[in-house]
Symmetry: C2
Subunit: 244 residues, 2 copies
């Protein structure tokens, strides 16, 4: 059987998952396209899959075939994919080990996804998203992670609670600022053993209150004609240095 009607109740409930509100309510999200579905399969988070009619895509999950129009409705992309998976959110809430990246209100989905890839590449054990960050399960975020969000511990937490946790567990907190900053390339191995690196919002950086609670401020040595790097680039270079 192929679902062809946009009025189908199941399709209508899946389309709602394009909004954070419904992803939070249902504790579920969609991933689009073969690459992300393969990664979600490896991570064992798939509940059900939806395949474009006449496509030969097989998984050991309940599979529903849909028409092109239905797939287009389910998808957030201009060119709808051949497969979409309904996945269960992994509502982790525990900080794992002590190489921590704390993202304070990152807004751009591409930046968050890119940072998740870099975090996995350079040994971060937990990513903490502050409350006003872009939603991890936003389709653009998932795409930019290339599925890597499944392989790293990502949790949501109030930023002050997170900072309290670091202070109680003797994890040094590193902010980013040129003023009174330390060149990140000069950190010694003890300073890289455990850390909580905080990266601020694209427009405003880290707030003054938060900066005041940092044990160290890091900076990246560069040409002074440039005011700042893109936040995903700056974060990745700092993690690269911390991971060496």
């Amino acid at each position: 059987m192929v679902i062809t009607s946009l009025e189908n109740e199941k399709i209508k409930s899946l389309v709602k998952l394009q909004k954070k509100k419904y992803r939070d309510l249902d504790n579920k999200y969609l991933v689009e396209g073969e690459h992300l579905v393969i990664e979600a399969d490896k991570a064992n988070v798939i509940e059900e899959i939806f395949v474009l009619e006449n496509e030969d895509i097989k998984y050991d999950y309940k599979t529903t075939y849909v028409s092109y129009n239905v797939m287009k409705k389910l998808s957030t992309m201009d060119n709808p994919p051949k497969v979409i998976a309904l996945c269960k959110k992994n509502n982790k809430n525990e900080i794992i080990k002590d190489k921590i990246l704390l993202l304070d209100e990152i807004q751009d989905p591409g930046n968050l996804g890119t940072i998740i890839r870099s975090s996995l590449a350079f040994g971060v054990t937990t990513i903490i998203l502050s409350e006003k960050s872009v939603d991890l399960y936003n389709q653009k975020v998932l795409r930019a992670t290339q599925g890597m969000y499944n392989h790293i511990n990502i949790i949501s937490m109030n930023i002050n609670d997170a900072i309290n946790y670091m202070q109680n567990h003797n994890i040094p907190i590193y902010g980013t600022s040129v003023v009174n900053g330390v060149d990140a390339s000069t950190l010694n191995s003890k300073e890289k053993e455990k850390y909580c690196l905080i990266m601020g919002n694209e427009g405003n950086g880290i707030s003054k209150d938060i900066l005041a609670m940092c044990d160290k401020n890091l900076y990246i040595k560069m040409n002074d004609k440039v005011e700042s790097l893109n936040v995903a680039v700056a974060c990745s270079i700092l993690l690269y240095e911390l991971g060496r």
Copy 2:
């Protein structure tokens, strides 16, 4: 006088500049918003400015006031800016000095803009865009550069001509590949003196033909669970290493 009509001939000709074809024909482009206009002013590339009526924005250029609807039509953003400048393209075609970044068909405007900022930060003297790259004067590219495109030599060139140039000028060509690669952090100062770093397209990387012409392949040491970094991040980390 305030232009309020979307049918105004001048407005219609400006709107055309949202397309590459017309930017190429007229040798002009638009920049949107105060930050980019300030940077274009510093770089002395502005011909004329367009200000939202009732806004108090003053420059020493011919200034035309426009209604909100006209500004909305001129702008590519959801929230139109208070000011737009008509600028002349800087059609440079000369390779300056010998720290060169060659971008082979970078497609994402955000990636190109981000790479331009990082290039300036880490001492690149010329960026070469291959023929099928996203257009430098695309509004999203300009925004992602935060105006930094004015402070670095950026040229367009056929990739084979560019490689010939490097070979004729004894500039070592560095590709990126894990196979037979060199850890970028192990480069010595002589190897960083002059270089042409090639970064490939988001989806496909550097083509085999081009890789075969590289003197060295660089890689970034990382967790092997991650297949690849975002191209702007990878490029920025390599330039960071080359700039040290």
